[in-house]
């Protein structure tokens, strides 16, 4: 049998189970936090307070939203395709969670005498795994829009497909530079390659790649200014128009989970993961460092949303194909030459 990927370090099955639950629990708890942070920060950017009525400082607002969504009627339009309609949010949720497994919060650490890697899984194909699930995430959007049997949803899903494909290429190419510099696809090794006093975080030597990855990340997560698949003003939320209640909640949570995942991946690949410059903190600080960097990037996502208007569709396409793709290619070529020459 052909082995497509190897896994660097195996633990006992019960440790893997515990790790899966722990990582999912921790990162999934960030979703309501990001939800609230987004609404409050957007308010601040617009001279408003944002939600401040439910609970202290509006802290229970996401809970109220979730409660409202879950108790709504689970409506399905007559023209929709039932099983696809039900499957789409599940796919979105699944791919978002699956990518989480890749984010390394620290290297292997010694917990009560057991060697545990503080990451879900560390396959040798590393970042390709993330792109594989990113590719699967299309289906959530595509099936969701297509199965709804509505024009707006269909338009939204078509846009989503075109946009995600165009930007995924640029995103992948932007990473080639990082992979070449680190000499590995494994995320833990990429982080290791950024540690130490002689190694810079890749956001500096790979600045162009960093920007491309980040902007393509905005497009991949359908965030403003690349929220054309949703486009509330023209497409009334695009592929999620016909979804309500729990299914909408799943799409919504998946979107925010994707933001967190993209931020965490950017942290890992370009911002040195759990490394802190000039100091060498104890191991237990590592996951906190990763989370802080991730949340800083989430803040950037929100800041950009408050700043930039949505692109026109043709501008989006020409930006992706005529600017980002050549730029990412040139970046990869130049990095390749420099890596060989050095």
């Amino acid at each position: 049998m052909t082995v497509f990927a190897e896994v660097g370090y195996y633990e006992a099955w019960w440790i893997q189970l515990l790790k899966a639950v722990a990582i999912f629990a921790v990162v999934f708890q960030l979703v309501p936090v990001v939800l609230l942070a987004e609404r409050k920060l957007l308010g601040r950017f617009q001279h408003r307070y944002g939600p401040n009525r439910v609970g202290p400082y509006g802290a229970l607002q996401p809970m109220a939203d979730i409660g409202k969504l879950l108790f709504k009627q689970d409506f399905r339009p007559a023209g929709s395709v039932g099983w696809m309609f039900a499957l789409a949010p599940v796919i979105s949720m699944f791919t978002a969670c699956a990518t989480l497994a890749l984010v390394p919060f620290s290297d292997t650490v010694d917990i009560f005498g057991t060697q545990v890697g503080l990451y879900g899984i560390d396959p040798s194909i590393g970042i390709l795994y993330a792109f594989a699930f990113g590719g699967l995430a299309f289906y959530g959007l595509m099936l969701g829009g297509w199965a709804s049997g509505s024009k707006y949803s269909f338009l939204g899903s078509m846009r989503a497909a075109a946009q995600l494909i165009s930007y995924e290429i640029a995103q992948g190419l932007a990473l080639v530079g990082v992979v070449m510099m680190a000499g590995s696809l494994s995320l833990t090794e990429i982080v290791e390659a950024q540690s130490g006093p002689d190694n810079l975080w890749y956001c500096i030597p790979q600045f162009v790649g960093f920007i491309i990855f980040l902007v393509a990340g905005f497009a991949e997560t359908n965030r403003p200014p690349f929220d054309l698949p949703e486009a509330d003003a023209e497409l009334v939320q695009g592929y999620i128009t016909e979804f309500g209640g729990g299914r909408f909640a799943a799409f919504f949570a998946a979107e925010y989970l994707n933001i967190i995942v993209v931020s965490a991946l950017t942290t890992t690949l370009f911002l040195g993961g759990w490394n802190v410059p000039f100091v060498d903190p104890p191991t237990w600080v590592d996951p906190i460092v990763v989370l802080v960097k991730t949340l800083a990037l989430v803040f950037l996502f929100i800041w950009i949303r408050a700043t930039l208007p949505r692109l026109r569709y043709d501008q989006l396409m020409s930006f992706g194909w005529k600017v980002f793709l050549p730029l990412a290619t040139v970046n990869a070529l130049v990095t390749a030459i420099l890596v060989v020459v050095w």
Partner: protein, 177 residues
């Protein structure tokens, strides 16, 4: 001779100038500038009134819910039931039924008084024509703008309600505010 629009015509820039690289560089710079702008808005702080607790102050001439007035010294109603306000009302929301004052039952300072004075506030457009039409300044527009109720009949304000000292629920805007 072809029409010469003169120097008023400005050429419309239909596409970003420069090549793709320059455009990208400029887009990057402009994005940073935009982010600086939004961050500055954040630093300014909020301009929100926390509404139910903190009311939006109104200008002195704000036209809110009507008030009927009495003479301060005698306590008699100013309204003499002349129905000029009802005649002036474009929304036809005022109903006045006049009655004669008698020595035993003296309600207003004039010959007659308004036995019934009703304003249907669900119809009122707050134009203030009643206030202008009134020869005795008996009706004026107040400052109260919190006029919601659970059914329409509750929005028909009677004379007693309009005469009653209104709950001063609305703050006035200070000079220069």
């Amino acid at each position: 001779m072809p029409y010469d629009p003169g120097p008023d015509v400005v050429e419309v820039v239909r596409a970003p100038k420069g090549g793709a690289l320059r455009g990208t560089y400029r887009a990057f710079g402009e994005t940073l500038r935009g982010m600086k702008t939004t961050a500055a808005r954040w630093a300014e702080g909020t301009h929100t009134y926390q509404y139910p607790e903190e009311k939006t102050p109104v200008y002195p001439r704000f036209r809110g819910r009507h008030k009927l007035h009495r003479f301060e010294d005698t306590g008699l109603e100013k309204c003499v039931g002349c129905s000029l306000c009802a005649a002036a009302c474009p929304a036809d929301c005022i109903r006045v039924v006049a009655d004669e004052n008698t020595p035993e039952n003296r309600v207003s300072a004039g010959e007659r008084y308004a036995a019934v004075y009703e304003i249907n506030l669900s119809r009122c457009i707050f134009c203030g024509y009643c206030e202008v039409a009134c020869p005795f300044d008996a009706i004026t527009m107040g400052h109260d703008y919190e006029l919601s109720d659970y059914n329409r009949s509750d929005l028909i304000f009677t004379k007693e309600m309009l005469l009653a000292e209104p709950l001063e629920r609305t703050p006035l805007r200070a000079a220069g505010e």
